[in-house]
Structure formats: C-alpha cells, structure tokens
Amino acid sequence: MERPVHALRVLVKAFLFFVLLNLLFAWFDPPIGKLTAYNWLWPGRLRFPYADSPGYYSLGYNVPVIEDFDAMFGAHILSAGPKPADEFRVFLLGDSATWGGHVAPEDMLAEQFNRLGLTSCDGRKIKAYDLGYPWPSLLRDVLILDYANQYQPDMVIWLVTLHSFEKKSADREFLVPHAERMAEVIAEHQLVLPKVYSGQAEPAFWDKTILGQRERLKKLILNQAYGWMWSATGIDNANGLSKDHPAFPQDALADVSYFDYQSPNDSQALTRSLMFDIIRVGREIAGDAPLVVINEPIFIISGQNRDLRYNHVYPRWAYDAYRQSLADWMNAQGDPYYDTWNALPVSEFSNDMSHRDPQGEKRFADLLSPILQDFSCP
C-alpha cells in the first residue's frame, strides 16, 4: 500500500533541506561564477559586464558582477581559450574611460587598437583586451590584474587620472567581496594603505549562505541570461547606443576647491595623499610584461573660468600638481610613463567627465599605437 504523504512533513522536510543546502553552500563556497555559457553558447564579451544603473531590465543588456571575478572573467572573451602562439597580448586597465563608458563595444579603445592591425617585431598580432571597469580605483585594477595574470599578458597599459590616485571609501564596494585576496596582495607587496582602507572585513558565514548571497546569485543568473542578448544584438552599453552627443558647456564655476583641498596652498597636502605606490604593486604583479602608465586625456573647457579650472572636476592647481608629482614619481621609479592629458579636443569627448566618443577613441588609439609597437619589440 502506498504511504500517504503528509503536507506538514513535506513542509518541515523542505525547510530542513533548505537550511542544509544553505549551510553546505556556505561551507563549501562553490565557485559557481565559473559556470558560464559565454565563450561556448554565446561569444565572450569584449569588456567586463557592467551597467550604469543596474535594474532588472537593462537597456544595455548587461549587469555588473564585480563581486565575482570568476563570473566577470568568465564572460570576457579573454577566457575563451588558450593564448594563441601568434598573439602579442596587451591588457588595458583603467576606469570608465577605458571601459568605454559612452561608446559601443566596437568603438572602444581596445577595439580601435585591434582595428589598426598592429604586429610585433617577431610577427605576432598585437591584440588588446579591455580590462577597464567604471569608477577609478587603482586597488581594484591591481586585483583585476592579479587575476588576469593567468591569461599571460605581454604588456599592460594602465590608464590613470588624478581621481584614480585618491583614497576613497567608495572603493570598498569593489574591494569587500575580494577582501581575502586583497589582504594577501597587500601583504605580498608590502603595500601601505591609508586608514580609510583598514578594517576590510571578510564576509561572515551568514553572508556565504544562499540567502546571504542572493543578490550575487541573481546577478550571476542575469549575467548569463544577458549573454543571449549580447549574442543577439552585440549591445552591451545603453550609453553607447547613440553615436552622437550634444556639445557640452564650456563654462565652470569660479571655485578652486578640490574635495577637502581648498586652494593652491594645499597642493602639497594633495600630492602627499595620492597613492602612487600602487603603481609599484601593479608593476610587480605584471612581472615580465612591461607595464606602461598613461595619464589619460581630460575634457578641457574653453569658456568662463577656464583660467581657474580645466573642467568642472579638476581645478588647474590640483591637476597641475598631480601631473608634476606623478611624472616625478614615475621618473624616480624608472617606469614607462606617458602624459596625454591634453591630447584630445573637447569635441571628441562624449561627456564632460572625460569619456571619449568614437572619434576620440580612434584618435587616442592612433596616438598610443607607436607605444604598443615599441614595447612589442624588445
């Protein structure tokens, strides 16, 4: 005779099973980010998954998975397979300007390089990979490079700006999920960080359960689902849907303050606070691959108060002090450094936050191509 099923028992068993599943999940911490349909069911992305304002329905068919480098790299074309023997591999590190905040994937800097068809002296094809990620955070860039090293770069180009070197508590958003690895990197390379970075707590046991990870799990699933749309449309950025952009205001306020720094008298305090030493860590992680630092172009206004500010972000005194001290530091370290701060006209920016438009990306790639060529010929 068939045993009757009791609803209450089913409920209790389901609850216990769910609790057990949560505990096992937290205990084993399975690397589910490695499960990916990219690079076999749909093509890998040309840049990391990211959306400006991530909602459930994304106009750019994209969702950020920065909490999980396995998923982030798993979606990237970089992880498609072993490095071809005839490839000279270049990684581009940086913030939203490198990621291509306002351009379609085919227009971003890395693809502009690839379109130039450059080859190294030994005949290898120079292939650039976009490893940029929006919001300037050098510590996050270092962690990305640390992970990306397994993909054997031949050269690393690190695009920076003043904002990249500031200490920022907002970095925690990127760093907390990677606190464990970050602590190891800091210890390995004896990096001394400002107080704002101290106390990067590792996730608690509760945070590792399915319930605690529900937001991350949701994003991982969405990231996979959006692979279909990436494949179907080739779109990964809502801000890149339009190739045109308006002309931006050329005036700035008559204010010379820069965050906590009020006037040119604070220039020394400002430069002392900048975290140049992270460049050293990047260089050490890159190992044999040369690491080239580029001070990226900024949007320079030509209207009112242009004598006080370069744009609404940077007052002249602060940016000049930064450029000088970065040049001095790079010179002292003997590391390759190029300053392209004023290389592009305002018309080739897609907004006043120094994001380049497709023409700007092309011009910038043309400008940097001799550097790639130089470093690909030992």
Binding site: P4, H6, A7, V10, L11, S231, I235
Partner: protein, 413 residues
C-alpha cells in the same frame, strides 16, 4: 455594490441580511481614505482620493445602493445601462488616448500638470477581470439564470483576492457554491495548494521573468543581428507569456484552495494542441468560455436564424473573426491588439475550412497510427508557429513595428 443592487432579486436585497457586508465595505473604503492622513501609513498606501472625495463617493454609492434596493424588479433597460457603464469605463481605461485625456482632465481639476497627475494613478488594477465578472452577472440576470446572492457574496465574487489581478474569470453560481459550503481542507488539499503555489511562483518569478529578459521588444526589432535571433526572441516571448500567465493562475488556484474555494483552470497544455481551435480551448480558458457564452454562441445563433440567409462559411468567418477581435481588444484598445485578434480569427476560420476540406476530400487521411502521429506532431508545431508569429502584434506597440518585425523574420529587410 451598484452591480449587486441591480442584479440581486428583491428577496436577496434586504438590509437586515446585508448590513454586515455593507458595513465592512464602507469601513474598508473609509480606512483607505483615512490612511492618507496618517503619517506612518503614507509609505504603504498609494496617493488616493482625499477623504472628502472618498466620503462623498461612499455616500453616493450607499445612497444609490439603498435606493436601488427599493426597486422591485430589474428592468432590462437598467441592466443594459449598467452593462454599458461598465463597458464605458473599460473603454476609457484600455484606450491609451482616452485615458490620457482623462488623466489630463483630472490633472487640471486637481491643479496639477500631466506629469504630476500621472502619480494619480488612473489604472484600475484587475478591472478587465472585474468588468467581465460583472457583465456576466448582468447578462445572466437578464436571462434569469443568475442565483440570488447577498452583497457580501457578490463582492467576494467580484474582487476575490487570489483571482483579482489576473483571473481566472469564475462564474457566480459556481463560486457561491464553494462560498456557502467551503471545500474541506485536508492533507491532500494542502499538498495540492502547496504544489500549485510552488509551481506558480517558480513559473512566474524564475522562468517567465528570466525569459522576459530575452523576449522581443520594440527596440529589439531593429537591434537583432539576424532573423534567426528575432525568431528566438519571439519564441522566448511565447513561452514567457505562457509561464507568466499560467504561473499567476497556479498561484491564484493554490491560494484560493487554501481559502477553501476551487477556482477553474485557465490552461490545459496549450502548446501541445494540434490545431488552433484546440489551442484556444486550452489557453486562457475562462476568457474564451466567457466570450463563447456571451458573444460567439448568441452571435452565431442570431446569424443562423436571421432572415438574411448567409452561407455557412461566412457565418463561421464573421463569428470567429468577431470573437477573436473582441478578445484582442479586451487586452487593450489599440490597433495592434485588434490585428492580433484578426490574426487569430482568420487563423481559426482557415483551420476550420481546411479541416472541413480534408474531411470531405480525404476521409481516410490520418487513419493509420503513424499518419496520426505525423499529423499530430506537425499540427502542434504549426499551431505553435502560428501563435508565436501572431505575437508580433501582441508584443509590439505599433503596427509599423509589427510589420517591420515580420519583414525581418522572413529575411525581407
């Protein structure tokens, strides 16, 4: 309340037996109106009409209901006017142009711009379903088959919480039977309800919502890289609406069962049906039954018995297209929903004629087991393809976009 007062026979309209229902209803309306003025409830309730407005409306409703309760018999005129009133509200709410005008009017009246008044939500959650439940009672009262029910029973039927937003559209006489003699809630019923709820939640919030990410939209018509991708997105939409709607139905049926009411089924494996007629008997069953009872059958009868003798094929064409056109417009008064209804009306007509042709010319066709299986599989695939292709009208907002999508799907653009 008004619809009840109009449809209830005199013996069911006594104040003595209905005052508890009336008190609960008035209390609920006043509670919502009051809630707006309480600082700690502002976040929980939408901006609603002011207390004065609510109180005034309540007084009018109660006055009308009490007044109507003195009417000894329901005249056909009154029932007809009530049905037209319900349809008029339906037309206003379902027509984007008219609802925008109404919105502007309300905005002007309240001294706000259109943008501000958008917050004054004109959408009436679940009205498509409420309207059809009420129309059913009005029509059945006209036919004299509606059972006598009290106010509380009638309101429970019209706005029954589990089926309030997305059906199924039950019938009053069936619903009231469960209300008066609630079904037992034993072990197996808990299991049944639990299974339906779990299945519904999974179908709606995992499968359908995930498919929604990859389903066809206005933007995707231009963005899809190839016809193949557009076909896939269209198929995704097909499965999405099935899982979405049947998921909601599962949830409604499961919840209702816990409340000791058995709601009717709305889906019966529609994507496995071998022809369009069977598909429509298995898709949104309660809506098609509603239209069959209150439009298709009476319309067919009237055409068959009219003095003007029409050929059978024309009667079938008119009734199929007319019914499906109305089903399309039930979803919204737009050209695209009309085209979607037309698509299905013509599909049903063609399928009817084709079946008839085969039956007369090739009576032995599909007699063998293998042939039957072949026709069944082919029929299932063709029915799915026809339904899915028709979704270019349902899923997209404008005819131009739908035709552009059709061109692209067939590699013509």
């Amino acid at each position: 309340m008004l619809a009840w007062a109009i449809t209830a026979p005199p013996e069911a309209r006594g104040l003595r037996s209905n005052w508890p229902g009336l008190a609960v209803l008035c209390g609920a309306i006043l509670l919502v109106a009051f809630s707006k003025s309480l600082p700690w409830t502002r976040d929980f309730f939408p901006a609603s009409a002011s207390l004065v407005l609510a109180g005034g409306a309540l007084a009018v409703f109660v006055g009308l209901a009490v007044g109507l309760s003195f009417i000894k018999t329901q005249s056909r005129l009154l029932l007809g006017v009530a049905a037209l009133g319900i349809l008029a509200i339906f037309i206003f709410l379902k027509s984007p142009g008219l609802s925008e005008r109404l919105l502007t009017f309300i905005g002007d009246w309240r001294g706000r711009t259109l943008d501000d008044s958008a917050a004054f939500n004109i959408a009436w959650l679940g009205y498509s379903y409420i309207a059809f439940r009420l129309l059913h009672t009005l029509r059945d009262r006209q036919s004299g088959v509606l059972p006598a029910v009290g106010l509380a029973e009638y309101v429970n039927y019209a706005i029954f919480f589990p089926s309030f937003t997305a059906g199924p559209i039950d019938r009053l006489e069936r619903f009231v039977k469960d209300l008066r003699a609630p079904l037992p809630l034993k072990n197996d019923d808990w299991l049944f309800a639990g299974q339906r709820l779990a299945a519904g939640l999974f179908k709606k919030f995992f499968v359908a919502d995930l498919l929604a990410l990859v389903s066809i939209t206005d933007a995707l018509v231009g963005q899809a890289r190839s016809p193949g991708w557009l076909w896939l997105e269209l198929c995704a939409y097909s499965f999405r609406i099935y899982f979405d709607f049947s998921g909601y139905t599962d949830i409604a049926i499961g919840m209702a069962r816990l409340m000791r009411v058995r709601l009717p089924e709305n889906f019966a494996a529609p994507f496995l049906k071998p022809n369009l007629a069977q598909f429509w008997s298995a898709w949104h069953i309660t809506l098609t039954q509603w239209f069959r009872a209150y439009f298709f059958n009476p319309f067919t009868r009237s055409l068959r018995t009219s003095k003007l003798v029409l050929p059978t094929w024309l009667i079938i064409l008119l009734t199929q297209v007319g019914t499906m056109l109305l089903i399309g417009l039930w979803h919204g008064l737009t050209w695209n929903f009309a085209l979607w209804g037309l698509w299905h009306g013509l599909g049903l007509f063609l399928q009817n004629r084709w079946s008839e042709f085969l039956r007369l010319r090739f009576p032995d066709l599909g007699a063998g087991r293998a042939a039957r299986a072949f026709f069944r599989v082919t029929g299932v695939l063709l029915t799915f393809a026809y339904f899915t292709l028709g979704l270019v009208f349902f899923a997209l907002s404008m005819p131009q976009l739908s035709f552009a999508a059709l061109m692209k799907l067939f590699g013509m653009s």
